[in-house]
């Protein structure tokens, strides 16, 4: 099935949501504006990217600055306490 055929089977509202999602991602990460909703792969990728960045941003809101020094020196200290 061609991507355009597959797209025609999706509700217009759903396609619009995906296009909005792609715009959101591009704006949030300062990517150059470009129409990318031309095939299903780009829509799937956009949705997947969004869930990735939302989850990672939530982690960052907790961890920011608290793991910045976690490196080999810290790791060596930690090894002494390893089970």
């Amino acid at each position: 099935m061609l991507p355009s055929d597959a797209l025609s089977r999706i509700e217009p509202k759903r396609i619009q949501d995906c296009v909005e999602t792609i715009k959101e991602i591009r704006e949030a990460f300062l990517l150059p504006p470009k129409i990318v909703a031309q095939d299903l792969n780009s829509i799937h990728k956009a949705l997947s990217d969004r869930s990735f960045w939302i989850a990672l941003s939530d982690i960052h809101s907790i961890t920011k600055g608290k793991l910045k020094d976690w490196d080999l020196t810290e790791k060596d200290k930690f090894k002494k306490h390893e089970i």
Partner: protein
């Protein structure tokens, strides 16, 4: 095949970490590249690190998000064979890292994989690292 080390996972979690950007790139590759995996022991060690720095509530939130980020089919389990290789290295006195490093190196050996890390311990155990 490429295996993410705990250092890479930890660096991806904190935007202030000096290796953050590159680490996030590798974390993303778990979803986009078919040859990138993460050992289950790296997630376990990450949780041990988190337990030293964060409350239970914070850890639960971080781990629930990590569960969304890391595809389950990209997590490599440790089996008895992995422990056997790690034990052999210990017998020979060649386990240059801690227990987790030795298990990750053993997994790399089992799967003919490279380890994504800047930790020299892996090279001392004869495992190729990428960073």
């Amino acid at each position: 095949m490429k295996l993410l080390d705990t250092l890479t996972l930890i660096a991806s979690l904190d935007p202030s970490h000096r290796q953050h950007r590159k680490a996030v790139d590798y974390l993303q590759r778990l979803r986009t590249h078919s040859d990138v995996f993460i050992p289950c022991v790296a997630i376990h060690e990450c949780e041990l690190v988190l337990s030293k720095k964060f409350s239970l509530t914070q850890r639960e939130r971080i781990l629930r998000n990590l569960d969304l980020i890391i595809p389950k089919m990209k997590i490599v389990p440790v089996d008895a064979g992995t422990h056997a290789i790690a034990t052999q290295w210990k017998l020979l006195g060649q386990n240059f890292g801690g227990t987790t490093d030795t298990l990750i190196a053993s997994l790399a050996y089992q799967n003919k994989a490279d380890v994504v890390s800047w930790d020299a311990a892996f090279r001392h155990m004869g495992v190729k690292t990428i960073w």
